[in-house]
Symmetry: C2
Subunit: 196 residues, 2 copies
DNA sequence: CCTAGATGTAAACAGTTGCTGACTTAACCC
DNA sequence: GGGTTAAGTCAGCAACTGTTTACATCTAGG
């Protein structure tokens, strides 16, 4: 069985660029920015180290590209106008959905600081906008800081779960599936954000 | 005004050891293990770099010492037999209590992986034991995995808040005080862990 | 076919990392 | 007070970091 792709070209800029992005995202999410080596990333991608600087100028540039890529992907899966009832499903899917494994949780990436100011500003921007969406879904009116705070706490919870699942090996949390996470998440979200 | 300490000795092993521990905890919590340099720690402690290896054998040894120190301190502030109603208070205090600032949140340290197996095992051990205590406080009976999962999620939430407060600058979460955190935390905990 | 530009490779650079050894200096005891 | 030991200093090493530079090789267009 040969490959189906029409052009199995041995030199493909866009292709290797994507290989690097995928490998980088995995390593950054798993080990953090500082602990990850450009050579590790290149090896995992099966690509020469120098290409990182060719395609992304620097390690920070690569990280930034991972981040903006993650934004797009998240923006596609999580619509901006979710209802509060859908939120637990969205979180559970993002934490343990069928896609995870090859694409390790994007959420973890949002907790990985690079120290670079530009990249960190992107990170903060995404987080803020997520919290806003969540607060809006919960019925926030402009100026309502208390509900915004609650939305940020809910977001913290989702990110905390993602991080603990990936760095600590804490059962049953680490290997809980989408279904097992759903019910607790529903209780958490409704306890925190439901109108009373 | 001279110093009040009875013995202002210029050479004090225990003293400088503690200086190193404090500085290391701050840096590790703020920047993570890999991004923190032994020279940074030594400078912040106002101490020669070589003393880190003298007193703690290695950077990893220092991190491990920070971790076990944090265990003791947490074990003292958070008793093992808390009631469920006290949990939100304990979390809020640990997140934003009056002591924070000089002693940046111990919780963040528990999310900082060093890559060293020994240190990470300590970390996991603490987290597991905390989750157990929480589940017990919620009325867990042996073998009840569902409630344990919920306790681990609650713990994730607390840690996530700690991390987001320290790495993202997300208002109003970042500068919320103990009181402002308490009410949402109560709703979160009761929604997640209360018997229904 | 054959050349020009795109793609990939190899080696080395300068700076930083954690760590070590030989050394100096202060504190304590008789 | 001299001498012994603990406490602190200093310079440097070997390994690793991100990055660059000069070079090889493939691919497409004329």
């Amino acid at each position: 069985m040969t490959t189906r792709t029409p052009a199995p070209r041995r030199r493909d800029a866009a292709g290797t660029r994507q290989l690097l992005l995928d490998a980088a995202r995995r390593r950054f999410a798993a080990d953090g920015y500082a602990a990850t080596t450009v050579r590790e990333i290149a090896d995992e991608a099966g690509v020469n180290v120098a290409l990182i600087n060719r395609y992304f100028t620097s390690k920070e540039g690569l990280f930034e590209a991972c981040l903006t890529g993650a934004v797009d992907e998240l923006g596609r899966t999580v619509a901006a106008d979710v209802t509060l009832a859908e939120v637990p499903h969205a979180i559970a899917r993002q934490l343990a959905g069928p896609h995870v494994g090859q694409h390790p949780s994007l959420l973890v990436l949002l907790l990985r600081s690079s120290g670079d100011e530009r990249a960190d500003e992107i990170r903060r921007g995404i987080l803020r906008s997520f919290a806003e969406s969540l607060a809006t879904a919960a019925g926030r009116r402009p100026g309502d800081d208390k509900l915004l705070l609650r939305a940020q706490i809910a977001l913290s919870a989702a990110l905390g779960i993602a991080l603990l699942r990936s760095t600590a090996t804490m059962e049953p949390l680490a290997s809980a599936g989408e279904q097992e996470l759903l019910e607790p998440l529903q209780d958490l979200i409704s306890g925190l954000l439901a109108r009373r």
